[in-house]
């Protein structure tokens, strides 16, 4: 994963220069030892392999999000860590202790199930105190802990209620308090917002994030919602068909996706073919200068470049603002108003060659629409108001930043 920000570029002919993207927030100076790690985890159901060689660490107080579509194996990882499923190979280590062979009840992990799994015949306070009651703690201690946790999750006035009398968000807070009561080694959240409407989701997400900061327990979330993953995670692991595609900070995986899957899974992404030349990239007939790692990229390599819709700059003439590099010309095919911004679909014009063969992506009058390449661009409101564009307009397409995906092996 390699990314650049274009600093200046007046036109295609102008000299383009690329400098690395601004450095992302520096990682913690002293990385604390892993609170939880999985090493070389694999799992099969019959002959189907659902997990392959999964390894990651979660640091003390860190929030790791496992992001993936359904069937990517994320739930299985969670269940293996919790001890509800046995791995085929690999180890689960919690605070330095190998717990792979331990049953769920001896692991001391807290699982927040998607359905919350609150005990329906117990009141809120009984639910929260359950972990301590079965550990035969003293009544006084149980009462004090329950009171503290009720205050922490702000449910004091609901203590005598049954789960069925609470809202989804309140039930979830009870579920969290119930696991915090016995001081879990790690918290595991199984799609905790899956059953809620969008508004409640966003609200709860923030609440839980704040709560986790307060209690400082290492946590693993699983979700299929990329927005949720980026907002909640200190780091995010993108899962695809049972393996980790990329593991990094939200900034890294969004801005420097390692694979096409990661790029497209984390929101809208435009992908174009490009050819590596000694000191630049060839994108259609455009030349974009780039400094590439010669270890990964060789002259003549076919690669894909990825850029986000918000990285696209449009201009009616060849004069582009500083920091944008022209990659093609296009005409506007569709304009959609999406609230905060305007979304445009652009059909690229044919130009140049692509990786030794004539690109089927670019448009000529004879090329059927289906064989040409469209990209998506978004423009914030002020810009859309300043330069009005209409369907059919011919524009110059430039990008302010992009990522080059390593060539396929």
């Amino acid at each position: 994963m390699i990314g650049w920000t274009l600093t200046e570029s007046e036109s295609v002919k102008a000299k383009e220069q690329l400098i690395p993207r601004p450095a992302e927030p520096a990682p913690l100076a002293d990385p604390s030892p892993a609170a939880a790690s999985v090493v070389g985890l694999s799992k099969r159901f019959g002959k189907t392999s659902v997990l392959e060689n999964i390894s990651f660490d979660v640091a003390e107080g860190e929030v790791l999000v496992l992001l993936g579509a359904s069937g990517s194996g994320k739930t299985t990882i969670l269940r293996i860590i919790a001890g509800l499923e046995m791995p085929y190979t690999g180890k689960v280590i919690l605070h330095g202790k190998d717990v792979t062979e331990l049953p769920a009840r001896e692991r001391g992990v807290g699982v927040i199930f998607q359905s919350y799994a609150l005990f329906p015949k117990m009141t809120v306070e009984k639910n929260i105190g359950y972990g301590l009651r079965i550990r035969k703690r003293k009544r006084k201690e149980i009462r004090e802990t329950v009171n503290e946790l009720l205050a922490l999750v702000q449910l004091e006035e609901h203590r005598k209620k049954y789960p069925s009398q609470l809202s989804g968000g309140q039930q979830q807070r009870v579920a969290i308090a119930r696991t915090l009561a016995y001081k879990p080694e790690v918290l595991l959240f199984d799609e905790p917002f899956g059953a809620l409407d969008t508004q409640t989701r966003v609200h709860l997400r923030r609440e839980i994030k704040a709560l986790l900061r307060k209690v400082n327990v290492p946590s693993i979330f699983i979700t299929h919602d990329q927005e949720e993953a980026l907002e909640l995670g200190d780091r995010v692991a993108v899962l695809y068909q049972g393996h980790i595609e990329q593991l990094g900070t939200p900034f890294e995986i969004y801005n420097h996706p390692a694979t096409e899957y990661v790029a497209t899974f984390l929101g809208a992404a435009n992908i174009l073919d490009a050819t590596i030349r000694k000191d630049h990239l060839e994108v259609g007939s455009a030349r974009v200068s780039a400094i590439l790692d010669p270890q990964t990229f060789q002259d003549g390599d076919c690669v894909k470049i990825v850029f986000r819709p918000e990285d696209v700059v449009l201009s009616k003439n060849d004069f582009l603002r500083a920091g944008a590099a022209k990659i093609a010309a296009a005409h506007i095919e569709e304009i959609t108003f999406v609230g905060a911004y305007e979304r445009l679909r652009l059909r690229l014009e044919r130009g140049g060659e692509d990786c030794g063969h004539e690109s089927p992506y670019y448009l000529t009058t004879e090329t059927p629409e289906s064989q040409t390449k469209a990209i998506i661009a978004t423009r914030p409101k002020p810009e859309a108001a300043k330069t009005k564009l209409q369907i059919g307009d011919r524009v110059v397409v430039a990008v302010t930043s992009f990522t080059v995906l390593p060539p396929a092996k």
Binding site: A82, G83, L84, P103, A104, R105, E106, R107, G108, V109, G110, V111, F113, S115, A117, F119, P120, K121, M122, Y130, G131, R133, I134, R135, Y162, P163, S164, R178, T179, Y182
Partner: protein, 270 residues
Amino acid sequence: MRHVRGFDVVRPLSIGMLVFMMLPLVFLPLASIFIFGTSNGLDKFWAALMAPEAVFALKLSMATSFWATVFNVLFGLFAAYVLSRHNFWGRNALIVTISLPTAIPTAVAGFALLLLWGPYGTLGRFLTPHVEIMFTALAIILANIFVTFPLAFGVIKPVFDTMSRSLEEASATIGATRWQTFWHVTLPSLRGAIVSGALLTFARAVGEFGSTILVSGNLAGRTQTAPLYIFAKFNEGQIEAANAIAIVLALFSFLIFSVLFFARDWLDVD
């Protein structure tokens, strides 16, 4: 459903017809028990009820039904747990077999028990000089267990089936042993099903006649249950004696039925 405004003649007519049809089929037979039983005065009724053999028959019915219920509820709980938690070859065959006894005529059930435990039965012949099972209270309990076998199971199993596995998984991750999970999490959710399963079993066992008459020997004061007492007294022409017990059994089944009917909400309360 009324399509015309105003008085709809179909409504009272259909309700009236329903009640009229039920009259000779259900209402009148029940009413006649009470009418005849009390027609000679309440003191006669009371005397018939307090006859030693009558009291014994009622007590025996209650006791044998009680033990059959205890066994079948525990068994039903266990069977429902095994059959809804594990999937194995022959699982459906087992479910059908458990449910079978309700479909078998009670006389056949009693006969089958005789053939097994009787003095010349498959197993009974080895026990005969030392232990006698047939023609004792134990035989009545065995017959009751047989004919009410699937009742508690049938009520408990659906609750097990619909119970979310994540409750038990949550309990395990919190640190509970299997037993603690069963006691604190699973069992409370089954409370309603257990109570109604037990009541159904008990009510059915108290009224059991066909199998009991074959296996008990119908010995007054020893193995005669309440329904057998009714039958015996009726045959002897002692209608009042039979009637007194019939009233008690009828009232008893009303009671259990009302509990089941009106307490459903309470039993399933969350």
